[in-house]
Amino acid sequence: MDILRNFKQFIVDTLGLMLQGGKLYYAWVAFLLLLIGVGGFAYANQLNHGLIVTNMRDQVSWGFYIGNFTFLVGVAAASIMLVIPAYIYDWGPIKEVTILGEMLAITALIMCLGFVLVDIGRPDRFWHIMPLVGRLNWPDSLLAWDVIVLNLYLLLNWFVVTYLLFSSYLEKHYKKALVLPLVLLSIPMAVSIHTVTAYLYNGLAARPYWNSAILAPRFLASAFCSGPAVLLILLQVLRKTTKLHITNEAIFKIAELMAYTMGFNLFLTAAEAFKEIYSGTEHMVYFQYLLFGIERNGVHYNTLVPYAWASIITGFIAFLLFLIPRTRTNWITLNLGCVLIYSSVYIEKGMGLIIPGLTPDALGEIFVYRPSFTEIAVAAGIFSLGALVFTVMLKAAVPMMLGEFTISKGRRAVDAPPEAGPIEA
């Protein structure tokens, strides 16, 4: 069949595009491979000795790995932020951006699965959690739900991206009747992956810090701040380094949408803080550990305090920068805002979520957790793996999106592509 032969050629050409590049490309890939190697080495050591090489213990039984996992689920979910206006309101300038958003989602999901894998004590028993082969405790366990929705979302995005690029490669317009339902499906899917991840914590009555009804809404609101922040910076890099045409209008529109979600995120955080602090029950102790520290037997435990306030302050400044049209359309303040909101959410949905949930522990003990060198090295390895996946995907996708590289043209001319206008797909 033609389609199969063409698809095979598409895969071969995609791999070819990924392997060819300028010096800068090779240097970047080599740098990422080096970091992946460091992470791999640290992980091998962890496999040998067990999770004892991390600083997690019975009291704080989840840490840096699961914090990063949670944050990245948010990044993966946030791609719908761009899909909604592009496909529902048929808002032109943002459309080429959505495929990048979907690739970012794929990357984030790969990193999510990586962080789960490195966190489990028996990765050799991974098949126990696979549907049908193993024994998935569904529907009781929210972790079972999460395994299902994350993998479905990964497959969905993977399919849409591959299909759009393949159409472009065949110099055909994609079939709207196929893409639109899938893209529409990806919207509730994106909401569901982050909701299910929030429920994972939310459902634990043993941990009052997580057992709050607005946890899932807070997850979504913060994800729709941090995910697009990554994209805004990526888009600017891409239009400088490639011929990809991205209008200022598209970037400012995303920034405007982000201002609303940031405002909502701050409102939800304030609502949570009010309830805890004003009612002042014994459940406030976790918030207190996060925001002010706790004193026990003359020792002041305040490891998280500077981070917590940094997160709140940077989040607030970013909100103002995105809210005011003048700073939103100024490149310096816009990018500053992106960095600030990204850091804010990274702290809030990473360590700021996991650690106070487990400190003090179920019996009131305060165990001070900081990630070990192994945890940081492994995490760096996973982030580098994500960056590598995203880099090679972009490397192949950009010339195809631009129509520079198709089944009939572009071969051997990758380094000096012809001029091309904005992509149509």
């Binding site: 067990g50 999770l51 009555a205 043993a206």
Partner: protein, 309 residues
Amino acid sequence: MTDQLPMPLQTGCEPSSSCDSRREFLGTAVAAVAMALTGCGKLSKEEFLQHNFRELSKDEVQTIIARLESEYKAKYGKTVKVGTEPAMPGVIFGYALDLSRCIGCRRCVHACVKENNQSRNPEIQWIRVLEMDKEEGVNLQHADQYYDPAEVPREGHFYMPVQCQQCKKPPCVKVCPVGATWREKDGIVVVDYNWCIGCRYCMAACPYGARHFNWGEPGLTPAEVNPDTHYLGNRPRPKGVVEKCTFCVQRTRKGLYPACVEICPTGSRKFGNLLDAKSEIRQVLEHKRVFKLKEDLNTQPNFFYFYGV
């Protein structure tokens, strides 16, 4: 199947080996990948492919027990018996702890470690004794697990040992993604150490800090090994899995008291069959006023606290 050493991992085919069938070869290949993943060469194909304990046939259980016993023999140089006694009909175990008698001597903690083959280095303790202020009452935010005076009890303090509360609605069982932990018919919540993937979701879900993780390879010397074990209880554990108090399932299903009950010098610990109207535990429930720890969470423990005097 075999009562020799665990089957060494095969990475290639030898003429006389069992690689004839494609299925076996695939199994070996998968086990090799798994070995690379765990970074240890000790994982046998049988162990890798072993299914959840509740899904095994009697024959499969026997094979697994034989394999485990030979593994323990090789590792500790002594015969370790791995029992599989099921729950006795008509029995639901209950536990009651007299807060007015407990003096915080921690004898229960150490008897438990000895009986249940916990890792000694680092030491895992299933019972945590909390020292509390008399003026505060039961308040976990004023509890200290690391009290170390020359003599107990200390003036102005009382003691509250906490271990698995064997809940009727155990949140740990609900959250386990693979069904590696469940509540048995006699009310004991157990873990299949060969099925647990080590995700530690149960530890986050437990309101009593009753679940413990083998962060490293359990440090247990041959001299320390208690050879009378149960598959779902005190058999030596591998690294990377969760473990917990089982009311000494290896003892109580044979009509013995749990080790912590037996050792307690003050008689603070009461144990028995909740379905037997004449049992000591029922006497406590009848004549004393009991309470449950973190009652508001509706975990419905079969572990009760009371003030006996």
